[in-house]
Symmetry: D2
Subunit: 309 residues, 4 copies
Amino acid sequence: MSPASRYTYLGPEGTFTEAALRTLPEAATRELVPMVSVPAALDAVRNGEAAAALVPIENSVEGGVTATLDELASGRPLMIYREVLLPIAFALLVRPGTSIESVKTVTGHPVAQPQVRQWMAKHLPDALWESAASNADGARLVQEGRYDAAFAGEFAAATYGLDPLVTDIHDADNAATRFVLVGRPARPAAATGADKTSVVFWLRDDHPGALLEVLQEFASRGVNMMRIESRPTGEGIGRYCFSVDCEGHLQQRRVGDVLMGLKRACEKVRYLGSYPRADGGRATERPGTTDTEFVEAADWLTRCLDGRG
Amino acid sequence: MSPASRYTYLGPEGTFTEAALRTLPEAATRELVPMVSVPAALDAVRNGEAAAALVPIENSVEGGVTATLDELASGRPLMIYREVLLPIAFALLVRPGTSIESVKTVTGHPVAQPQVRQWMAKHLPDALWESAASNADGARLVQEGRYDAAFAGEFAAATYGLDPLVTDIHDADNAATRFVLVGRPARPAAATGADKTSVVFWLRDDHPGALLEVLQEFASRGVNMMRIESRPTGEGIGRYCFSVDCEGHLQQRRVGDVLMGLKRACEKVRYLGSYPRADGGRATERPGTTDTEFVEAADWLTRCLDGRG
Amino acid sequence: MSPASRYTYLGPEGTFTEAALRTLPEAATRELVPMVSVPAALDAVRNGEAAAALVPIENSVEGGVTATLDELASGRPLMIYREVLLPIAFALLVRPGTSIESVKTVTGHPVAQPQVRQWMAKHLPDALWESAASNADGARLVQEGRYDAAFAGEFAAATYGLDPLVTDIHDADNAATRFVLVGRPARPAAATGADKTSVVFWLRDDHPGALLEVLQEFASRGVNMMRIESRPTGEGIGRYCFSVDCEGHLQQRRVGDVLMGLKRACEKVRYLGSYPRADGGRATERPGTTDTEFVEAADWLTRCLDGRG
Amino acid sequence: MSPASRYTYLGPEGTFTEAALRTLPEAATRELVPMVSVPAALDAVRNGEAAAALVPIENSVEGGVTATLDELASGRPLMIYREVLLPIAFALLVRPGTSIESVKTVTGHPVAQPQVRQWMAKHLPDALWESAASNADGARLVQEGRYDAAFAGEFAAATYGLDPLVTDIHDADNAATRFVLVGRPARPAAATGADKTSVVFWLRDDHPGALLEVLQEFASRGVNMMRIESRPTGEGIGRYCFSVDCEGHLQQRRVGDVLMGLKRACEKVRYLGSYPRADGGRATERPGTTDTEFVEAADWLTRCLDGRG
C-alpha cells in the first residue's frame, strides 16, 4: 500500500493501542503498522511514510503518554485529528490448562501494575510481579514459559495461544485510556458542535502568577479546560510547558480569542488541533461568549471607531 | 454667533469652570455661554444649540461632578474630546477695605468648604460658614453685603468689585479639578501616544466577583485604569454602573480588545471617547500588548485556521 | 439633656435626614439636633457633644454623601452602628390656594433636581428651577413668597405652613436614600445573621491590577461586595481610596479573613463597622467559606505543623 | 541493621537513584536496599521496614516519576524530608575493547531514549535501539552480550565489568533529575530560609475556573509555585488531582495561609512536607506577605473586634 493509506501505531501487535485503532471504521481499509515507540510512530508521519499515527495520550496502561506529549510539543509540528477512548480492562492470560492457584509469577507493562495492584493483592497475594517491555511482550513471555501469567488485553490471547483466565480486571471504575490520531498539519475538520481543542504553551517567565494569568485567558472567555499537564521543557528543573485540552473548536470565536490571548501572553504556543470529542459532550456557553456576541462586539467597536458607537 | 461656534459651561460667570474653559486656545474664538446646571450645559449640546460644553468631572470645588457622570451615562449619547486640569486654589474675596480680623461670616459653594476647612480653622477660627449656590454666587452675596467674605477663584474678584484678601488657599497639596469638553458623538481624534479612554458600563448581575471579572478585562491586556467610580443607576440601592478612565486610545488594539471584552461581559457599555491626557503621561506597554503583537496573534490564528499554524 | 442622649443629624429641620432619624425607635427618647453640615454633625460626635449622628451615605436627595464618605475616611475614627433606608418621594409644596397651573418658579436642593427632572418636564414644562441650600430651605423660600413651589419631603409642609400639592414624586422606581448612624469606635454589636460590614482602604500603589488584587480578597472568600465607591484622597488627581460595603459581620471568619487580607495588601485600611442590614437580606454562603470550614482548616494546619496532618 | 537505619530506593543497584542517594552524607551509615518499584520502596516505609525511601519525582531518566506522584497522593500518608538534584549525564557502556564504529545495537531504559536521541542521531545514526527494564538492566544485557552498548550512569560500569566509551551524554543542557527522600509523617524540620513545600489537592468540581481559583490562593499571598503537575485520579478521564511545589515553609504565615485556603477550597488536600531547597534559592517576599505583616494584620483584627481598630 502507499504511505497515504498507512497508519502507524505504538506497537507491538496485540496491545491496547492496536485495539483502539481498530475501533476507527477507516482502519479496516488501512495498512496498520506497529512501531517500537511513540517517536518512531510519529516520525513515520513526519517523514511522509504514513498518513497518521495512533498513540496513547492520557492515563495509558502501556506507557508512551509523556512521550506523546513531548513529541507533540517539539520537533516538526503535527496535529491531532481524532481521539479514541478505550475503557481499561485487563485479562489475566495464561497457557491453556493453568489454574489461578498455580500462578506464581506474573508479568505485564510497568504502567499496568498500578492498575491491577489491588486486584492482585486480593486474588494473587503471593504471586511475584516482574515487568515486561509491553503488555503484548508479557503475553509472549508467558507463551515461552518464562512467567505463569500476563496482564494484557483479552484480544491478545489468540495471538499468543493463551487463554484469558480472568477478564475485565481494573482497580478503578471508569478508568480509560485516551488515544489520539495524529497527522501532518492541515486545516482542522469543521466544527461538529461537540469538539475539543488541544494546545501547548510555554510561559514567558516564571513570576508568581504567570500560569494564573494564562489560565485567565481561558476562564475570561468561559472556555473550560478539560486537561492540563505540565511537562519539563528539558531546559532544566523548574522550566515547564503546559499541555491543555479545552472545550470547543478553533472556529468558535471564543476559542480563537483564547488562542490569540495565549499567543500574546506566552513565550511560544503550538496549536495541536480541534477535533470531535469522543464522549460527545457539548460545552455550555456562558453569557457573553457566543459567536453572535463576539461578532456584535466587533461590530460595535467598528462603530465606536467611526463615531457611531 | 452660530451654534457651531458656541461653547456652554457650568456657570455662572466667574467660576472655576469658566477659568478652565479659557485655558483652551480655541475658547478665544468661541461664544462662551454659562448655564445653570450640568444637565442644561449638556442638553444645549444634545439639542444642537452649542458645539460643546465644558463641565467638571472629578474632585470638583463647585459640584456638578456626579451630575456630569450621570449625564454622560444616560440620555442621548455624548462624547469627551478634551480634558483640562486646573489646580485648586481659592482666594478669600472681600469688599475693598475689609481686614481679615473683621471677617465674621464666610460663604462659598458647599463643596468648597472641605477644601478650605483646615485653612479656616487656622486663620478664621471664629468665622461662621454658610453655603451659597455657587462660588460666584458667594462673591455676589459679599458684594451685596450679606457676608463678609467668600471663597472663590481669584479671577472672580474683578467681576464683583471685590479684593482678593488671601490667595492660593487649598488644604491639600496637588489637589486639582478635572474638566471635560463634551460634544456630540463623532470619530475620536487620532491617537497622540499619550491618550486616555473613558467608558461607562453596567454589570450583568451582582454575583460575587462580577466587578472583578470585568476589571480583569483591563488587567489581562495590561491596560491601566486611571479612575473608577461607581454611580447608582437609579434602579434602587445596590444597583450601580461604573465610570472608568483607562490609559490609551481606542485605536490601540489592546484598548479596543478591552472594550470588546466589556461589551460581551456587561449588560451595557457606553464608549465616552478617547482624548489626549492633560498630564501628557504615556502608558508603559506590558510585553504581549503592543499593536504589533495583536496583529501577529491575529495573523497566527488565521494561519491555524488554514492549517498553516 | 446630656450629650449621651443627644443625636445630631444633617439639618435643617424638616429634611429627609430628620425623617430617617425618626424611624429609629430610640429617637423618641433622644434630643435631636440639626447641624449645618455633615462634618459638623460628625464633629459633635467626635468631640463628645453627641452620642451619635445620622447622615446620608448613598444616593442622597440632599447632598452630603461624598462629605460623609470623606469624613468617615479621614479625621478621628468613627464607626457605623445602624443603617436606615428611606424611599425617595418628593412632595411639591405650595402656599395654600396655589394651583399647579400658577406654578412658574420652583426650588429645592440641587441634588433633588435630577430626581424630579422627568416629572417636571411632564407636569411643569415651563417652570423655572432655581437651587436652594437645602430642601427645607426651599420650603422656607416658598413660605416667604420668593418661589411658587418647592420640592421637599411631605413632612416639611406643616413646618412651613405649606400644602403638599402633589406627593410621591420620583422619576426612578425603587430609588431610596441610605443613611447611617455613626458613633465613636466601640465593639460592634453581635452578628444578627443579616449584617453588613463597611471598610475604606487605600491602595498601596497604582500598578495595573492593584484594585483587582484587593477585590480578589473579597471574591476568594465568597464575600459579596454590596457597594464600592472611589473617592479622591485629596493628594492629587488619580489618587483614590475605596469605600466598600460587603455582606457579613466582622465576627464571621470569612469577613475577618478578608479584612486581614486588606490590611496586608493595602497602604491603609479603616474598619467602619458591622451592623444589621436594613433590607434584612442574608448572604448565601459559598462552599468552603463557613465558620466551621475556617475552624477546620486552622485545626488541620495545626496538625500539619505537628506532623499529624 | 534495624529498620530505623534502613533506606530503600528505586533499584536495581547501579541506577541514578542509587547515585542520588549516595550524595546524602547520612547514606554512608545506612543500609541501602534497592526495591523493584516505587510502590515497593514506599510500602517498605509505610510498613516500618525502612526509615525512608529515595525515589525520583521529576524529569526522571529511569521512570517512576508518575508512580511517585501517585503513591504520595494515595494510600497511607507519607512526607517528603529532603530533595536531591542530579544532573542528567549518561555514559555509553560497552564491553572492554568495543569501538564506537562496532556498536550496532544499543539498549537502556525507555525514558532514557528521548534524553539521548539527538546524540544517537549524530554519533550512532545506524544503531538499533531496544528498551531494557532499567538502565542498570541494560548494562547487564551488554555484559551478557545481548547488545553492543547501553546508556547508563558512568557509576554502573564497574558493577557490570563494562567500560564507559563516552561520558557526559545529554541532549539538553541543564537537564537534571529530582529525587525526594520520603518518610512517615512527622513534624517537618525547622525552616532554613530556603525551603520548599509540597502539597497535592483535588478540585471540588470542574467548573470553568476551578483550578484558577485554587491557584489564586497561592498568587494572592505572593507564594510562587515551582512545579505543578496534574495527575488522573483514576476516577475516569477528566478527573485530576494537582501536585504542586511552592516556595517557602509551612511555618511561614503566608504558606500556612495558602494551605488553609486550599483546605477550604478543595475537595481534599494532602500536605507532603516542607524541606530545604536543593538549589538553595530563597523566595523574594512581596510587600504584605511577611510573617510580621501577617501577625500585625491578626492583631489589628483582634483590636477591631474589640472596638479599638
